[in-house]
Amino acid sequence: MGNGTSIGRVRGLGSAKSGSHHWLVQRFTAIGNLFLLLWLAVSLVLLQDYSYASVAEWLSKPVPAVAMILLAVSTFWHARLGMQVVVEDYVHEDGSKFACLVALNFAAFAGAAFGVFCVVRLALGAH
């Protein structure tokens, strides 16, 4: 770079110190997604039919309900991390970038919360 004092360079352009964590969690959730989506695909193929009764009975059982809750959390987390990188790559204006990341966080947390709540409500026998 060759500009400013050494300390100025470090403050302005140094590492954010959180890149490795982001990268690792992207992989952890990717592995989770891989197993959970394979489970979902196999379950969908094995389901007798897609009537409300069959699907609700299946998803109310403890193991499928927990797997679906994990799937909602893992996929929304992974999507949040991935789309954050896309925003950082293509939205360069500070204000817009901040707004995009706020919206992305809201959508990801709200989506995961809604998914988890729906499975819990179904499994605990709302109908």
Partner: protein
């Protein structure tokens, strides 16, 4: 500050400079399918779970929408996006541990990842429709 002393510095070459190869295609498709799966796939997942939690009537509306021609296009598109992203994602796991960077190997898996995405999507739908 970032501009001082950086004038007339060479820029790193971007997409249009390089000769196209399958590794560029698979990289771009990883982003496209990832975002497609995130927006359309997670939207569909929430509609599915919301309909189940809301009761038989809401589920009927969801089932109706998904079995219209547009619904089938969306379902096939989402399953293709997810599976293709999964294939290029598995390719990334190998690259992450430092394997598969040899030119020929890299080229082979760059071509095979999207092809396997299509093959497994077709296999998934064959299993769903023929069972």
């Amino acid at each position: 500050m970032a501009n001082a002393g950086t004038r007339n510095r060479p820029l790193s070459p971007h997409l249009q400079i390089w000769r196209w190869g399958p590794h560029m295609f698979v990289s771009i498709m990883h982003r496209v399918t990832g975002n497609g799966a995130a927006v359309a796939g997670l939207g569909m997942l929430l509609w599915f779970l919301g309909a189940l939690a809301s009761g038989p009537k809401a589920y009927e509306t969801f089932s109706w929408a998904m079995t219209t021609p547009i619904g089938y296009i969306v379902m096939v598109g989402v399953s293709w996006s997810v599976i293709t992203h999964m294939m290029s994602g598995i390719r990334h796991f190998f690259l992450d541990v430092g394997a598969g960077f040899e030119l020929k190997t890299n080229r082979t898996w760059s071509i095979l990842s999207p092809v396997l995405g299509v093959v497994f999507t077709a296999a998934f739908w064959a299993l769903l429709l023929l069972r």
